[in-house]
Subunit: 402 residues, 2 copies
Amino acid sequence: MQKTSKIDYKKELETASKGMIMIHDPQLLIKLIVRMIVNKLDIKHAGMILEDPKKDSYVLTISRGQHGYKIPAGFARFEKNNPIIKLFTEKDYKSLRINKNGVIAQDINRMIWQESVIANGNGNGNGATKLLHEVADQMRIHNIVACVPGLYRDKLLAVLMLGEKNDGSKFDDDELDFFAALAHDVAMAIRNAQLFENLQREADKNRDLFLRTVIVLGSTIEAKDKYTHGHSRRVTDYSIAIARQMNQNGTGHFSEEFMNQLYISGMLHDIGKIGVPEAILNNEGKLTAEEFDIMRSHTVYGVEILKPLSELEDSLDGVKYHHERYDGKGYPEGLKGEDIPIIAAVIAVADAFDAMTTDRPYRKGLTHDQGIKEIDKHSGDQFHPLTAQAMIELFNAGKLLG
Amino acid sequence: MQKTSKIDYKKELETASKGMIMIHDPQLLIKLIVRMIVNKLDIKHAGMILEDPKKDSYVLTISRGQHGYKIPAGFARFEKNNPIIKLFTEKDYKSLRINKNGVIAQDINRMIWQESVIANGNGNGNGATKLLHEVADQMRIHNIVACVPGLYRDKLLAVLMLGEKNDGSKFDDDELDFFAALAHDVAMAIRNAQLFENLQREADKNRDLFLRTVIVLGSTIEAKDKYTHGHSRRVTDYSIAIARQMNQNGTGHFSEEFMNQLYISGMLHDIGKIGVPEAILNNEGKLTAEEFDIMRSHTVYGVEILKPLSELEDSLDGVKYHHERYDGKGYPEGLKGEDIPIIAAVIAVADAFDAMTTDRPYRKGLTHDQGIKEIDKHSGDQFHPLTAQAMIELFNAGKLLG
């Protein structure tokens, strides 16, 4: 019966340690494993120290005991020169590890005793003897009787620390082998999780850099067109709010990816103005027909500029078609109704609303209230009815913040 | 002896399958495992089919036999409706899997025989019987006697396909259990590798998007400043070449990260010109002192624009200080000698060379030969001697392509 239960816990621990590899925060599973060791085995307490690559040291991650026994919490960090760490990492001390899978307090004490017999009172002995004394001290301090290294490719990633068995017997080689396999699995899970974490961090960092570069790119046009300070940001905020509202009222089914593209498109919808001469861009009077044509070309020119980002297809549609009108009287292509990409229809209403409601040097902007009345009035001719409706709903709900 | 060798191969296979988790292209390790199965066990051949998430089907990844035995290569892809796949994926057929860890041809044949006895010639029987027939056919076609599913969280990720044992005996439950554990490890390794691959692809994609957005950002100034078409790109190319040359001739020790920052800085060094009025930027005559000041402000203004990317510290230094001179007579801060960040000193010489050697509407550009003479002449007053030297070396080696 005892035998069977022993096999069972081994199986359980093995399964747990295997599944661990798929948990990319292994701390939780290490916790479960240490708890399992303590609960299923007749061990008074157990703990695990893990490598902290950033600090170049080792940290007591978890310590757990059955009856109040616990590794003192004060000794949370093990520097590289901690004797237990040195024992497992420095080649010079390899010979001291009697069992290749760990060290046992009894063995250490026996070795110290033998050394002292051989040395016969010859002082403190060599470095190895000194280390043995220190390891014995450390094990006493931490109230443990065995340490099992978790190695991955000869690198020490973790140390499993085991307290006394309840029956007082010594850990045998079989048990140490088993714990070593366990510690090795833990080490691999840790390394795996670290790699994941690094890669995830890199992906996030690059995404963030990309988005901030988009913001910078959007801001360049505002450096040129003085009357549009904050315009791109506000249009983007309105656009996202409109699309969310359409998702909520059931008239839209926009994915997260669409929202991302909408964000980029909103930030960059006027980027083509970078190619419009300042004399036209900042003209406060009437433009000639020719000048109007140049002004209008900012839609097509924007797409030209953004060509290197051609996979942002939806975003480019927003840049190109945000001046199309639902009745087909817009530009650059005179697209009509549902032929206008919805991303452009969303930006169109946001863009018009912001243009109407902000001050220009030559005229005062409308109030939001007046602006919304205009949107309502031109729903179905200038604006897509559903995007206009969403914007009106947002305003009525007091959620239209610009 | 036989027993011992059996334990050894199990141990070997287990170790291999564990290590697999750290190989993020598991194909290689699957290959090793299949080879090991064939070589160490008395099995005529073995193969592994893997899920292809993109195609929503399964692919024969590896097939290997001892004595010319091989699963026919023509059957490389298993669609979702392949009877073997259906047997392991569709709930309806769960009852057909006698041993939870796989199916054995002999069992299938026995079940078919029993069914036909019960049905007593009642036509083709029910769906289950039909599937059994199809599975039997498939196993015959692929010349295998056992299939073991590799499941991860109830999802079929792989199927281990085993040919006959050389002694003709049937696989026992113990063996199937072992192979199932192996297939499970493989499945986990595959899932792990897929997650890694996806994450790596995402990181790469985001990095690429970022860099292309930098290129777009750099191109905006060329949309405005008509005389500088391709200038940023050429300055970047020169700069990278200069830094590489300095690494080669031992005067520089630039990391890959520095090279990345240099690339970005080169592409964006003139971005601040976006804030300089076109009238000044495109002025072909003499500028007034005041206009000169505005023109010069492009260095500081560039950093202002790029503030959201402040972690690109070296790049920003290049933008800000690429008009400093080695003798301290440059702008914006009049930094001198080694106080000028080296990234700016690299860009400075590349920038000056490109400016000299390209045509402007109001003057013809110098030849490369004349340009290099100018660089040489002003090494130590305008230019950092080492960056000038590297550029001259590149020219002399015929490696200065712009």
